[in-house]
Chain length 353, copies 4
Amino acid sequence: MLTPTPFPKSFASDNHAGVHPAVLSAVVDANTGDAPAYGGDSWTRAMEDVFRAEFGAGATVYPMFNGTGANVVGLGLTLRSYDAVLCPATAHINTSECGAAERLLGAKLVPLPTENGKITVDGIRGELSALGNVQRSQPRVISISQATECGTCYTADEIAELAEFAHARGLFLHVDGARLANAAAWLDCSMRALTTDAGVDLFSFGGTKNGAMGAEALVILNPELDAPALFLRKQGMQLASKMRYVSAQLTALLTGGLWRENATHANAMAHRLSDGVAGLPGVSLRYPVQSNSVFPVLPEKAIAELQQRYLFHVWDADENVVRWVTSFDTTAEHVDTFVSDIRLAVHGASSGA
Amino acid sequence: MLTPTPFPKSFASDNHAGVHPAVLSAVVDANTGDAPAYGGDSWTRAMEDVFRAEFGAGATVYPMFNGTGANVVGLGLTLRSYDAVLCPATAHINTSECGAAERLLGAKLVPLPTENGKITVDGIRGELSALGNVQRSQPRVISISQATECGTCYTADEIAELAEFAHARGLFLHVDGARLANAAAWLDCSMRALTTDAGVDLFSFGGTKNGAMGAEALVILNPELDAPALFLRKQGMQLASKMRYVSAQLTALLTGGLWRENATHANAMAHRLSDGVAGLPGVSLRYPVQSNSVFPVLPEKAIAELQQRYLFHVWDADENVVRWVTSFDTTAEHVDTFVSDIRLAVHGASSGA
Amino acid sequence: MLTPTPFPKSFASDNHAGVHPAVLSAVVDANTGDAPAYGGDSWTRAMEDVFRAEFGAGATVYPMFNGTGANVVGLGLTLRSYDAVLCPATAHINTSECGAAERLLGAKLVPLPTENGKITVDGIRGELSALGNVQRSQPRVISISQATECGTCYTADEIAELAEFAHARGLFLHVDGARLANAAAWLDCSMRALTTDAGVDLFSFGGTKNGAMGAEALVILNPELDAPALFLRKQGMQLASKMRYVSAQLTALLTGGLWRENATHANAMAHRLSDGVAGLPGVSLRYPVQSNSVFPVLPEKAIAELQQRYLFHVWDADENVVRWVTSFDTTAEHVDTFVSDIRLAVHGASSGA
Amino acid sequence: MLTPTPFPKSFASDNHAGVHPAVLSAVVDANTGDAPAYGGDSWTRAMEDVFRAEFGAGATVYPMFNGTGANVVGLGLTLRSYDAVLCPATAHINTSECGAAERLLGAKLVPLPTENGKITVDGIRGELSALGNVQRSQPRVISISQATECGTCYTADEIAELAEFAHARGLFLHVDGARLANAAAWLDCSMRALTTDAGVDLFSFGGTKNGAMGAEALVILNPELDAPALFLRKQGMQLASKMRYVSAQLTALLTGGLWRENATHANAMAHRLSDGVAGLPGVSLRYPVQSNSVFPVLPEKAIAELQQRYLFHVWDADENVVRWVTSFDTTAEHVDTFVSDIRLAVHGASSGA
């Protein structure tokens, strides 16, 4: 019999988690009377300082409400009206933003086939024959996700190769870094190594999935893209009036290595989970586990049984792939209980019970 | 000599204020472990209940990040690709959203002259000759602000007249209610009397300027507009993943009459301020004070002197009109100190000092 | 009794006219077997030559299908995503293109009050306070019509003043020249004097209303705007595949002064018409006659009676203003017959018959 | 040695051809003085009659300037702001309209893999999991090309299957019929059998590639899509003022079976061409020849040599596929001369000469 408590911990998404206490404290502490609106406050100044410390003195940072907002405003800075974004078919901008890039930017997305959510220079090259052809949208920016939507990571070298390739052809490299922290934690490097130092032009920095309440940011590393950012953020409905409460969250994450601590822990829980199900009959991993998500193939009956008491998404219904995501507040006990229930469900499925 | 402390209280905007303690507590209290994302949480259910209690059982409500977001998503629900919004020339959507309606919705805004920020049926009628003319954008929705950007209010009867006029011609009535609470407080009626009962089709509900941290909402009263709202909110980059922290703020405002208490206080402070400057030489009011803002004409020298120590905006530089806004946390002492400094500045200006 | 023949000649618009024989011949003559598509043909090369001869060696020209297309593609070249077009409230782009600029470009149009359809530097200045303000659409281009929609003309000096004013503030000057030929004919100067030499950055050249079958053009005089024109024309659905048949029309108009001959004649007919009705009881002119249209105020009864047998539009129903437009093929006899019928109708109206 | 005359006949595109004499005559004959603009003329009425005769009494037809215009306006009638178009990856709207659908409609295009340019119900089914998912663009319309960009044709049954599948799920079926005439000629059926009778909701009718000067049309068969068509055509910059000259072309094509005569001839020439190169060493066909284009694989050296004297496009540079298109005025002699030169070039290439 499975554990009776309903939904002891969600494995559906890292945005089912609450707010890390240090982030919440920072929000509460920001409530000290008046402050200028729209980013003219001292918390936003401090936040800019910690981002520059992390990503280099040339980085400019714009708090955003959510990842879609950060992606759309960021990509908007790179695009002319007739431009295309080359991205993995699996990209969040392509599959999970309800067509915001097309609708709000008028951009063409060119989805590329991926290996484990990653694209390579070779996969991009063929699309560049469009350059200069007036009948075709002009490739202008390559957008990748780090970590990818499949939970995998690009190495710093892989990113640098994409950036070099892009720049040599007049293109930009954009990164959807909703889980950049998890990638840096898994690769055991700085976030700077994966962005500034790798030649990335601009990226979305994700805070919400890593312990914030609701705080993302657009970070611009290529200064030639910076000029219209204030206008596009405002027009893009991402300008917070009481910005200090967003900035304070970002600062908290970048202070004392909290971002890494949270991400490292979430990653470790994902590995504990994938280790826990390794070798079970009928269970295999669709993608390697390189951050805080696990994509196992499970027996169909086991999926149905587990979903009665655990929150998680089916990733590929045809092939019985599900997605499990861990977060900063997933505990070893959460995982172990889940693993134990998975084992029961899988064995039950395989025994025909 | 003016009071030395710099910026003792901002009169620039009600979004310079902090968060009301009850709202902040609600946010903190929402941090109890996991909750489904994107509005599938119990705080959002509770928030929907309080909105229905306030605005009627037929109201649907969608939390939004900011007022521009609420306005754009709301108007988007009313518009076909070739439609126009009829709005006061002074409307926030026309003057202060960086062209979001045009850019993100492709909508034409038709700015109408106003009296004290308000439009009437007579001012609208002339535009309706466009109806059916294929060369012209089709008027589809009338959008008004309540309270207006000039701090004035439409009475319930005035709104009902606009709604009736609109509906008789197949148009909708939209209200930008960033300061709806202030209007209801000043008119001493329910918010429902100014919206549901007056025939409004949909409106933006403002929380942030009335003591929230960052919480607005789109409220739909005409059910035929509701169907695509979830898609437009997501595409419009206004879907909060950890929505509970936004919903909790809205619930706090609508609980125990906090919205009215905050708004009534802010309004009272605006009146205290306008009373305090009444009769000063060279000082007059551009608009009647009907909510929480005051638009005085001041001697140019007095403006310059006061801006050295107080935050407030110049509204009309050619005519020396400034805007002072009070908020839930403006105190009588704040006002009295400000008035005292205004008197000094105005007398200094008039004496040629 | 009025002349019995129904609709002997339309005074509704110059696009009710047919095609000038020389233009039609040019189209027929272009039908000589194969030619490369999309402008790679020798007729398009020839057309480019005649435009450069007319407007200067730095002019680039792009045939377009219609005036809306030329205006939208042209303005699109000047605008960033957060920009506004400052234009007369009477502008065709504002009143008669079904919101194309807002929808297809995402642009904000800022309609300015006019005198006889014309705007001045003084009327524009107030809008420039938006520059640099992140809440507001950024004025980027001034767009005027020449001749205006009221049939009046800007002098070369007036255009130069607008251009200088625009350039000094980083703005561009765009001209909707659907009736540029009529303006040049009335002002007795070259089209170049009103465009290239006056500092215009780009303009729409109108052929259709001046004897073509369907041929307009975007002409770019400021080379910094030229680069993306081919892409915007294609994306803007204005790229003719068998372009030679459009180019040939434009060449015909610019050959042997046909454009001036047609426009001068149409203008003369408008003056003959306005002269013919001068002094009639209850008849006055709303705007001075400076090109090929006449805007008389008529007795309401006379309007109704005349519209039974003549095609023309009511311009302002509240004030009984109508619009009469003449064209290259309007004859003196057409006008005289019309005048005679107008006299009968007006006298009938004034006698209460 | 190859035939010396340069470019005796283009095989690059059917829009390199001139205008069929009967179409040109119709244009010339339409030039009989005044006619109301914007489609209020008798030529447009007559054109509507012939379209209803061809496609059924319920068909409404809107002349358009070009195929991109017809496609964009047509698709725009089917789409809400958050909708997606499911189309073959090879579709003209996806590859050859410079992102117009994304930019002007804000639509997401979902490119599907094809077999010879055709998609099937099975290839579409997987995309429908997006229906109802607020994170994803909503599939709303299936768009196919007939003939396809690969020169192949859907049978009437294949179209009916797609239509049935679409309608059962609340989707529409759109056809880009730039070469609909060629398809009907090849399939030896009426155009109605491939559209009205097969359940197509709306389609672009191509005239230009089949002997017109510049005349396409949007034909709406599903009356629920018709209402906003006049507005979208105007806003979409596709409203011809002197429409009679476009309508007359369309009427000419649909009179006396000219459309079929032209298409049948062009198709026959394509087959003569493909027959002529069959069996040559190193030559094979990428796609079956089912209309007026041929896609052979050629030796790289032969391509280079032939392009020195013949106009045609390389379709796939990596695999040495080229595209040859025939038209209504391609003669047997043109083809035979070309074949003879192809033989020389291919043999030269294979002999290493």
